[in-house]
């Protein structure tokens, strides 16, 4: 940990699944627990770090988030909160999915939290049929099984079949 703070100006290179390379300042990369652990174990500070599960568009977003959070001092919590809500505004569901997967893979807790909350917010006032449509989920219940799930908690489904 101590050594990574001393070498603040160092940069490292991340490579997305589609081959694009991103030069990142070390203190920005440290927002990710995955990268922090890699750097701590001194395995690859000079090499290119491949991120085979994250495409360039998503990685650019992730690094934008990390940069903002790494540069802001902790006293600017209000500013960070408004950055967070602005950051995800107007983002489509596909991009959100990729973001949540990337945040999970790179272990960026704050980003995982806000992206998961954003996805939850889109479900929170929708009936189950609409949730299926938004998320392209196949209904794999038989009519009998589905009726049983409905019957278990009948009150939750008052107002729609």
């Amino acid at each position: 940990m101590a050594s990574s703070i001393e070498n603040n100006n160092e940069k490292l290179t991340l490579k997305s699944s589609d081959g694009e390379e991103f030069l990142v300042e070390k203190h920005v990369a440290l927002q990710s627990t995955l990268l922090q652990n890699m750097l701590d174990s001194d395995c690859s500070s000079a090499d290119v770090i491949p991120l085979p599960k994250i495409d360039a568009r998503t990685l650019a977003l992730v690094l934008g988030y990390c940069k903002k959070h790494a540069d802001a001092s902790s006293s600017k919590q209000g500013e960070l909160n408004s950055f967070d809500s602005e950051f995800l505004k107007d983002m489509d569901m596909g991009a959100l999915f990729n973001l949540v997967l990337a945040a999970n893979f790179m272990e960026i807790k704050g980003l995982l939290d806000i992206a998961a909350q954003k996805i939850a917010d889109t479900i929170k006032d929708k009936p189950h049929q609409e949730v299926r449509e938004i998320f392209h989920v196949e209904n794999d219940y038989t009519p009998e099984e589905e009726a049983a799930v409905r019957e278990e908690n009948r009150w939750a489904f008052e107002g729609f079949p």
Binding site: P143, N153, F157
Partner: protein
């Protein structure tokens, strides 16, 4: 009824892909997300939404039914008021959870009038006696009349299931500056006391560090007056702190929830209304959870009452269809 549902086939997905070529991600089904991420998303929903999502597909039902989900959900658990009819001549088996409207985290928008639709059912206490006394064929249309002694259940709190304890333990004086007209509770994870004894003022004491006597401190102080300047006295039970920082107490004399957001001026009285002339409700703090009580409490310490009992089909006299939470002028609530 479940048969009328609309299926989303693979064909639809392809159409989406053609419509939006730049966005290669759009057709990805949620079921492709690793279970740990789906769990992470679902756990953020209200109880009602979680139950609705159980019906989306089997993958989600399995996630929601898993012990990991119950554990994570409980760890994030938030207390809400659970209200129950306390009218002396009516017996109600339904408890209503008061959650803020789904689009916000408090009750600041107003005036509030919302249907309480997260319901929990409790069984009748002495099922055998009830069945003996109501064995009429056919049962009366207006509902079965139940004597109150068949239903003397006090509710402490619960996880998934409810605990009905013997009478509450006696409390003693904690701090020398406190008086006797106070109620003990938990707010924001800290032991607290609501002291309504001071004239026109309600004080909330919080034990910041559990078990440390010196950590008791006076956290909040409200003036409980109507706009006309009349004092709304009585005891206030601590119920919960909401995510938006607002505090919810229960004012037992009026049977209403007291709501105050420190960022806003004043307070609100929110009262359950069920269509009867003088509805009387009581409230406790409740953390909704999917953990089964039976797994937590050792079985030989308690009797387990079945919720799906033979009495479940009986309509009880005085059981009402809908309950609304309505914002009331404190002056009307109390005088």
């Amino acid at each position: 009824m479940a048969r009328g549902r609309k299926r989303k086939g693979f064909g639809d997905k392809e159409v989406d892909g053609v419509e939006d070529k730049q966005n290669q991600y759009l057709g990805r089904p949620l079921t492709e997300l690793p279970a740990c991420i789906s769990l992470y998303i679902l756990v953020r929903l209200s109880v009602k939404r979680i139950l609705i999502c159980k019906r989306v597909c089997k993958t989600w039902r399995n996630i929601i039914s898993s012990p990991e989900f119950a554990k994570l959900h409980f760890a994030r658990g938030e207390a809400f008021p659970l209200v129950r009819s306390a009218a002396p001549l009516r017996v109600s088996r339904t408890l209503y959870l008061v959650e803020p409207p789904e689009h916000c985290s408090g009750f600041n928008d107003g005036p509030i009038k919302m249907k309480l639709d997260t319901k929990l059912k409790i069984p009748v206490y002495d099922e055998e006696t009830v069945i003996e006394s109501v064995e009429m064929d056919p049962p009366p249309k207006s509902g079965v009349k139940l004597r109150a002694e068949h239903h003397e259940l006090k509710i402490a709190n619960s996880c998934n299931g409810l605990l009905f304890p013997p009478p509450p333990f006696k409390l003693w004086k904690i701090h020398k500056e406190m008086t006797w007209e106070w109620v003990l509770g938990v707010l924001g994870g800290c032991l607290c006391v609501c002291d309504g004894s001071g004239f026109e003022k309600l004080k909330i004491w919080v034990m910041k560090e559990y078990g440390v006597q010196e950590s008791w401190s006076k956290e909040l102080c409200f003036i409980t007056q109507t706009n006309e300047g009349r004092w709304i006295n009585g005891t206030y039970d601590p119920i919960c702190l909401l995510r938006n920082g607002a505090i919810v107490l229960f004012h037992s004399l009026s049977g209403a929830l007291f709501y105050h957001d420190p960022k806003k001026h004043g307070f609100k009285f929110l009262k359950p209304q069920d269509g009867y002339k003088s509805p009387k409700y009581v409230a406790i703090a409740h953390i909704p959870s999917f953990i089964s009580l039976k797994d937590v409490v050792k079985r030989h310490y308690m009797a387990v009452l079945p919720t799906k009992s033979r009495c479940a089909e009986f309509k009880l006299q005085g059981e009402c269809k809908d309950v609304f939470l309505v914002e009331e002028d404190p002056a009307m609530t109390w005088f």
